[in-house]
């Protein structure tokens, strides 16, 4: 299931740890990059690869917020509404994005382009409000700048 490249990457990481279990996060990251989300099949596959019970992998996947347990759109908008962003309009950005894309929090547009998730502090409080799109941060946003960003992402 993993690409040759991902298998090699994972193998290369083995020397870093005295046992195999710590590879579960790196493996899940590789999986999410390759498949976009962590399906039950992917959990089984990763469990097999690392010789771990599927229940363990499931427990890990569901503990962390960044693993998508259902498919997400091409652009995953992760909008921070925590304290520093709230003070600078992060909640309005969230409402605006939902309104404009006509979806609720945690939902994906029918064309599978956008998913919106409300997230906790991104560590961008000094450049608030912030939105993470896939791996990239967009900071010091306003409703206008968010609109411009959404236009670019279309």
């Amino acid at each position: 299931m993993f690409s040759k490249e991902n298998l090699d990457t994972l193998d290369g990481l083995r020397v870093r740890y005295p046992v195999g279990k710590p590879l579960v996060l790196p493996a899940l990251w590789l999986a999410q990059r390759q498949f976009g989300w962590i399906s039950p099949e992917v959990m089984k596959y990763v469990a097999g690869l690392l010789d771990l019970p599927v229940s363990h992998v499931y427990g890990v996947v569901t503990f962390y917020t960044m693993f998508n347990t259902k498919p997400v759109g091409k652009y995953h908008l992760q909008v921070c509404t925590n304290v520093s962003c709230l003070l600078r309009g992060g909640d309005r950005l969230l409402d605006h994005a939902c309104g404009r894309l006509n979806i609720g929090k945690g939902e994906t547009t029918t064309d599978n382009r956008f998913t919106i998730t409300e997230v906790e502090c991104l560590g961008s409080c000094g450049t608030a409000p912030a939105v993470q799109v896939n791996d990239d941060y967009h900071e010091n946003l306003s409703v206008e700048r968010l609109d411009a960003l959404l236009n670019d992402l279309r």
């Binding site: 590879l23 960044m66 925590n82 709230l86 997230v119 560590g123 000094g126």
Partner: protein, 434 residues
Amino acid sequence: MEAFTEKLILPDIPDLHRIDVYEKHGGYAALRKALAMKPEEVTEEVKKSNLRGRGGACFPTGLKWTFMPKQTDKQKYLCANGDESEPGTFKDRQIFESNPHLFIEGAIITAYAMGINVVYTYIRGEYARWIEMLQKAVDDAYAKGYIGENILGSSFTTQLYLHRGAGAYICGEESALMNSLEGDRGYPRVKPPFPAQNGLWGCPTTINNIETIANIPVIISRGWEWFSKIGEPKQPGTILYGISGHVNKPGVYELPSGTLLTDLIYKHAGGVPGNKKIKAVIPGGSSTKWIRGEQIEGVKMDAESLKAVGTAIGTAGVIVMDEDTDLVSVILRITRFYHHESCGQFTPCREGCGWMEKILKRFQAGEAAPSDLDLLLDVANNIEGNTICALGDAAAWPVQSFIKLFRDELEKKVRGSKPDAAWVPPPHLVSSKP
């Protein structure tokens, strides 16, 4: 005395993140110097410098290092804590971005001092781009022989690996971090045993914050005596203050410990937009107790001074709220965060955070009963001190201080409310430790 203005951790040097630039400005000289010392001497230097951890708990760094066993057959580990998820905190990311080699150099010296051969740097999953930046720096440092086998021709060998988290505030708590690194869910462990005896895979482990580690090369190259005189003697050195919220120039400011809070806000961060008054300040990340706007005059930003006004330096993440802020919505948002991030292992924290959120929501909706005020305080008081890790306290402290300082804000939202008869105080809240 002259005010100390030098920036030690984030100096204004263009392209300092590049290894050649870092070397040109004296980089990795501290490592060379440390390798010529005995490991105990390095630890002693750090101990005498009075450096205190920058991860939130302010623990004396050198002392922490002495807890590691000298004679042991087991592997020893260093975990550099780059989970940085406390709302209001965004300083370690600046080190990864602007001065990653200072951190790397510090990590190698730290490992040398404790005879550690494997360093893991745990970084929050959201920082994907910063992990790439740091990885580049680590690769360059390996290529130059600053990490790896027989560092700079010495007999000391250590590896440094980055480990990416995946979204969980609790993984910044040191024992949760170790569980997460081991490939388990990030549940905090019951202490004792402490990490220095029983850490990663049951082996001696030390956990230090990124900024703490970045101070080590400075102490080694300039000496403990010089360092210990910067700022407030009980917590010397510069601090990366992060300031956010209602200020004109939010950001990270490196200034000596003990800098006046008002200087930070008005001199450095450009004051409050529209020259509005300040209603409240959170001094050290979302888990620290609040300060009323009228009380910030004369308050200094260091552990002792903030303790004197009933709060703590925490992560030195200052959050400013102007006079127009709906404070109840802020405390509600913070409480919702802790409820969301509670690992859920134990009742007082998991349920207590949920109750606090529920009660605050009633205030926000104008539906709270007058008795809800005491109930809220009761819940907070029963969480504090009754939990396995400090997340419970972190959730309780802001609420406790809010009720003390801003009772009026809550009372305003009670008025005209319909009494809430359906809600009965949870009986097992008074239960003792989990």
